[in-house]
Subunit: 568 residues, 2 copies
Amino acid sequence: MKIALAQINPTVGDLKGNFEKARDFVQVAISCRADLVVFPELSTCGYPPKDLLNDGGFLSENEEWTRKWTDLSTDKVGILFGAPSLKWGKLYNSAILAYRGKVLAARAKSLLPTYDVFDEARYFKPGPGPENPIPFKGIRLSVSLCEEFWNCKDFWTTEECRYSKDPLADCAPDSDILINISASPFALGKQELKDRMLRHIATKWGKPVIYVNQVGGQDDIVFDGRSSAYDSNGNMVETLKPFEEELSIVTLEGSLRGRLGASLALVGRSDAEEAHDALVLGIRDYARKTGFSKAVIGISGGIDSALVACLAAEALGAKNVLGVSMPSKYSSEGSRTDAEVLTKNLGISFRTIPIGEPHSSYMRTLNPVLKGGSYSEEVELWEENLQARVRGTILMAISNKEGRLLLSTGNKSEIAMGYFTQYGDSCGGLAVIGDLFKTLVYKVAEDVNSRANRDGRAAPIPKATMNKPPSAELKPGQLDSDSLPNYGLLDKILMGHIEDGKSPEEIAESLPEDLYAKNIRDPKFVREILDRMNRQEFKRRQLAPSIRITKKAFGTGRQMPIANGWRP
Amino acid sequence: MKIALAQINPTVGDLKGNFEKARDFVQVAISCRADLVVFPELSTCGYPPKDLLNDGGFLSENEEWTRKWTDLSTDKVGILFGAPSLKWGKLYNSAILAYRGKVLAARAKSLLPTYDVFDEARYFKPGPGPENPIPFKGIRLSVSLCEEFWNCKDFWTTEECRYSKDPLADCAPDSDILINISASPFALGKQELKDRMLRHIATKWGKPVIYVNQVGGQDDIVFDGRSSAYDSNGNMVETLKPFEEELSIVTLEGSLRGRLGASLALVGRSDAEEAHDALVLGIRDYARKTGFSKAVIGISGGIDSALVACLAAEALGAKNVLGVSMPSKYSSEGSRTDAEVLTKNLGISFRTIPIGEPHSSYMRTLNPVLKGGSYSEEVELWEENLQARVRGTILMAISNKEGRLLLSTGNKSEIAMGYFTQYGDSCGGLAVIGDLFKTLVYKVAEDVNSRANRDGRAAPIPKATMNKPPSAELKPGQLDSDSLPNYGLLDKILMGHIEDGKSPEEIAESLPEDLYAKNIRDPKFVREILDRMNRQEFKRRQLAPSIRITKKAFGTGRQMPIANGWRP
């Protein structure tokens, strides 16, 4: 039996477009004499459809398209796909096996994830489970949906097991192959875990495994695809390209066979490379799926905007990206030059629009009331913010006039600490690197430069940009380190808390000794950082979606109260 | 037996503050010789604690405070309160009955709501249910939590029943009184429904009912309190003040007795009055719980900002509110005067800051690039937006400098259609009337004026403001009706879809015949409106929280994809 893994990139809600894509994939699979084509979870509507599932009109249209998906099956080829399906007035997250133009069998997902970015209990009833294998062309298929693969009681610790039941345990023993259809978001480090888990499942049950995952960016989430197949000894026999649509065929004849050396695809990918690919796809799909072909970015000469410009040029094509330098009296000459050099290296358009005039007119207007500028020796916070807001306003004018998607350039460390200007540098439709701590920003930037070198191109990001100390350049001689701990330290604290859920005590203990700051291994110091982070929730709530690349990003997956009396 | 209904206004996360409040309430209850004091759901931490519940440190601190709540009970008085509680590594939404300094019994919520603003399955495991009544001082208490009262199979239709089981059915028959602890958000029209439901429950089981609900604003949600008590014939014998903290005592001696004529409190409240009270509390609590005492509002002379100013003056005190008029060359003389008259009527501070200078300096800076202004006869969209962004920037500068909470003034009709400027008039920490359709804005404004008249004060909102046709005043002679259907019609369409979930066909059918627009009863016209609404999700995603007063508000309770291929 030949089984096609159809790793598609659907658009949420685009029932017609997703169907047409499926039809094309099925055509190719048929031409390769496939017996079965397997699509990802909720492939009719794309994942996650969110509150579209509360719209009766959407659901009934989805039923119509589900029938058309069913019609794609023939006497020769079965289609296994995912769809929301209504039964007795309840909605289920279903896997449907269509054959000869009819529904041969359907399975409803029995484990509904409700953590992080998932909220499936908001929409679906859990399927009854346990389910028997589905007989198809003389083979017994165990069909499961995403989360149902993630609760194996001898792979996870008791604490990690979220559900009391393991649906595989009911169905796997009597089946010939375990098929899982998924929409499992990308996160750094997850691929290695998933590979181990899939191998474990194959060897534990002594059955071949086929795993088909969605690919593509959808708002803040990126799906990396990497659909794969394992033989019953747990050897990976196929893995599809990460971050791309692809169709591939494996053969089940006694054992499962695919591409020789498939597992090599997993070797030697660094976090920086993974993040890079996820972000490029995240930008490309956000733009495409919301109808943008062009982007605009404020280029400061610093590392954050430089990296965003590189990623955008790769995602959308250099000719579609505009970089705008908006110098003020506090901008160093170096910054202006670095901005221009970067855009030349990338081949993107470049404009310089100094903010001096609008800025001084605001100061003339506001100074009599707010007594900044000439009234005060120090540049006050509102004046710093004012510059960032002038820049945001200029970028939004360009965005409005030229139909360009404004990409914002804040990183996760800044966003955590509220170290940005609301309605200023935070303006934009997509926060490209909002889930990258500053230390990772540097690593991805270095990776971008080395890739270029490897390809025989000049490194796009100027050395000066890589090396200069981070600064918002909103007052004379300002450095980020005036207001924040150094990023190496800060990121360790933030990552320990946000991603690893450590207590201030555990974090303090894990920090390196530092000659310059003897008190940093004090939980009190860590608590102050986390407290400051908590108080900035009101600013984060109004940010553009950040492309999620870690297991815990700000946004959908981390829902904190704004009014919050808790002090860590 | 004397039972105290302790309707408290907790702050989410403020474990210490909430405990101290409880201690004060218990003191008063003891002085009134209460036998039992009943607090709302999750009263230790406030509702909804959201992802604080994922923080181990928060949970263990909560356990400590839960012990202190338990210690409030004595030989004389029992304390029934709500807390998240860990048991065997799982988290439950629990009701705890403490007596003599010990936990006498605990109940875990078995029905966890996951719709609209609720996402309890994200945090909690459902309690096992069914539970036996708890014997306390010779009385058998049936204790339930919020949602568990909302699934009575002969009150709701089969379709409306969200869960297969009705926990009351297990426990009610063998108990002497049904007590429900709740954190049930306010929505227009819900009180009448709730009253009918509580009466139904009392009469169905022939038992007295005590219902204790949280009060207060928490981010976008307002809880109206209105804790109440019914005798076994379904007569309301007590109801606590809406939108205020209060403690009241009812007596159970055979039958349940409370205040004579309690149910009169429900009579004759209009939607406008209800919305008014909810919004005032929403502003007051958002400011208080996030540490603001002062606010700033851009006053345009239009109805939206006028209403927000009135509500803010009431919530925070007139002396703490600043209204800023920011006229442009497109502002009518009437608008400026109306703005000033309003602020005088209210007794709030007033400043005029014309936007002409910053606006022209932007135009000088941007015109060579974007070719608006003198290059074009028409005022282009980016130029319109520019004015709104200058205003937003000025207001944010004032907010930053003076520590004032900026209140934004967009209404639900505008927000639905994206008829606002991102980072312009949408700037602010709280969108006060973001859940009021324009037609309701007028009604609440009229109510504000009539209240003033009833109290012998001058009506604050000028007649001209009430009567002029809505305009953004961003280009010459501009009216909202140039870009939108009239609000009477638009609001019917939006409400039909958003709040009542009607299809375009059903909405079209329900629209009034209109001589001026014969085609409005065409589903195609309705679809165009809804399609336009869907495409504006990217703007809504970055809005400040809107105070929720309807059963379906934009924000937490309505989670739509931004990249969305569905066309209604």
